[in-house]
Assembly symmetry: C2
Homo-oligomer: 474 residues x 2
Amino acid sequence: MPLEWSSCPPELLLVIDRSGGPPLRAQVEHGLRDAIRTGRVRVGERLPSSRELARTLGVSRGLVQECYAQLQAEGYLVTRHGSATRVAAGAAAPAAVTRPPGTASRLLADFRWGVPDLGAFPIQDWLWATREAARVMPSADLGYGDPRGSRILREVLAGYLRRVRAGAADPEHIVVCNGYAQGVNLALQALADGGVRTVAFEDPGSPATVGACASAAGLRAVPVPVDAHGIDVAALAATDARAVVVTPAHQWPTGVALAPERRLALVAWASDHDAIIIEDDYDAEFRYDREPVGALQGLAPDRVISLGTVSKSLAPGLRIGWMICPPELVAALTEHKLRSDRGTSTLDQLALARLIESGRFDRHLRRMRATYATRRTALLGALAEHAPEVPVTGLAAGFHAVAHLPGDADEHHVVTTARERSVGLYGMSACRASTAATPAQIVLGFGDVGERAITEGIAAIGHLLGGRPESPSR
Amino acid sequence: MPLEWSSCPPELLLVIDRSGGPPLRAQVEHGLRDAIRTGRVRVGERLPSSRELARTLGVSRGLVQECYAQLQAEGYLVTRHGSATRVAAGAAAPAAVTRPPGTASRLLADFRWGVPDLGAFPIQDWLWATREAARVMPSADLGYGDPRGSRILREVLAGYLRRVRAGAADPEHIVVCNGYAQGVNLALQALADGGVRTVAFEDPGSPATVGACASAAGLRAVPVPVDAHGIDVAALAATDARAVVVTPAHQWPTGVALAPERRLALVAWASDHDAIIIEDDYDAEFRYDREPVGALQGLAPDRVISLGTVSKSLAPGLRIGWMICPPELVAALTEHKLRSDRGTSTLDQLALARLIESGRFDRHLRRMRATYATRRTALLGALAEHAPEVPVTGLAAGFHAVAHLPGDADEHHVVTTARERSVGLYGMSACRASTAATPAQIVLGFGDVGERAITEGIAAIGHLLGGRPESPSR
């Protein structure tokens, strides 16, 4: 008896594994689907009758009929009354798979910024906190809850922020979000809804991030210069911005703290212009010379959206942050959070609450403050030895510093030459709105670089920073 | 010696606790900040000299000076050379706290839709999976990773979706997101960037959700009717939409499966109109009469963005979902995910991967399939007894059904009267683009309602559904 299809006999179409593989029905169905997808049976091609295929494969006819019915329901096959079963016209083969290029090779030291010591993440404390949170969590908490976030976490955060950041934090005005990135998006969207058309940002700062978020929200983003006292409020007042993104406690990336008179001027600007200040309070937990400067939000709770995150204090991979919102903006920010993703993972929120409440979060911060202080000392020591002519600033807090290269230095050359020596350096140009590479500066992140790597890395490239030829002893 | 400030003597301003409270320095600083915030010391008011305050409080003068310096740095105080320290002009009191109204009272039965059995969430399995994931996770995974999500989860999901949903899933084309809500947002944003101006959605369906996301992305949203075979593809083709959001496996909320010829027609429409189908594959895991219909994505991987979620299979509170993207859209969707929140929690992703890989996810699904089948039977039984004249449809999969009320029934009346009987009912009007309440239908969710509550709830309101007066025996 001749087969009713020519290009692909059943035994090629389907391989049945009877040695304890998946159920026969699943094998036949998946095999057929696969054959259609990969183009082994072509569109319009006629399949064998269920009787024929059943005989060839040694399975029951009913089983084949079930498979045909399933694939027909899924649109892979068409059966017209009294006619054969054929491959449906829409059942196209998927596109070819593309693979990404291999990852970068390992570096001797990678001074990339913005990453804390990932190896020091208190994983056992986190697992403990998750377990504890799960133990007492009512199952209703696993549903769609308050889009602002868990009441428990908002209360714990309010207490924590009042205590540590001097924020005027009320649980009712906190919206939990997925780190700073989501927070700044939601803030700009809500402000755009409220009629803001232009948002200012610090220069140097994060032009790419703020620019992209502003553009997505339909806002114009304008840079405002930062000097040794922080953002230039007079220059800000000369723009038409009615919102500004600032890093008052530890300016990113210059590391200066917003000077007291500037803090007041900024708040006055916001009052006078009916404007909102978006405060990025990203790494204030780590200040070395004195207590961190309190959050600007505490000064003007009606004018500041304060964005906090555990990305620097714990790890970016947790994706947890929060916004302390002016009371008038709580509803709009909640609405945007709801629309964006309906809330942040409940169990993660409750685990963070437990971690803070238990004192383990503070203990971790104390430990990390000591770690970063040691690395900071190692960095300063290595630079003093290998690049003594290079001034370093911005080290009062956090875990990055700015190295000021000599006047004729070429940022791009320094970065690429360092990379050849297996040292990752990152230039200030990426932080400038103009992307200018002068004055030549390198932003040295040391959060996730061990002391030894810091010392060896700076030893390998210190001469580059100083604009000197490699010392002959090396 | 007269105090230099009149309204608030130091002993009222500050209460020092020497019986083992926080350090004195912290008490003084926080006390002062609090006094300024709450308006106990007014703007412009002069503070006592550091010497005076130190004497009154019985602390060292240096301590008070440090506190003043800190509050000056934070902008609460101003000190002009040779003049007294005063409360700064910008140091406003925070707005009054508002509290939300109390939560609703408990219901006998709440037939709200879209929520699975939260009490059955396999919390021990989830904690186990989190622990296992943490045990082998390289610390680098806690940094900012691939915005598409963990490679491990994407591989596990690809295998799972190929096996269970017949998706043409490649890990390179999967983007992990925070549930369906974020997925549909990112999809519509990416399509808007690509030139799409109008998106169609099923009617009845989720007009509010799709409408809000479309509007945020700058898109027009148009409803397309759903009949007994699913979305009306001819009506879709008559619109100018170049994207459509559909629920092919189990239409929300009617419960019909998209008919085979409609599946093909829909794919052909997408091909002909250079359009994209956004497939909301929300509860296909739970099909009672046969294997779930495979994902539409498997039929036309170049034309379909398939959105999956664990909100129905595990719990909404986890906020994990995924998108299988057409290869051409992977970059745009990844960019939007990156910009939106830089990725989903790594540890949660790895825990989900471990849960699926270990077979515990499948075991949970099997258990839940049995649970929902039992509840479905209880619902049908209760309706047969207490509202025998009410047809019920849409029960082939998932955990909701549609009750069709008599022609003269008033949805609003039925819902409010049921609420008076402590039974939560939800009308179809919220699912209709027109918000029309006719034909009167009730969408009965039974995912998170126990058998006994189902039986008692329907007994209490069955006569309302049938449009009959309460039976005298009750």
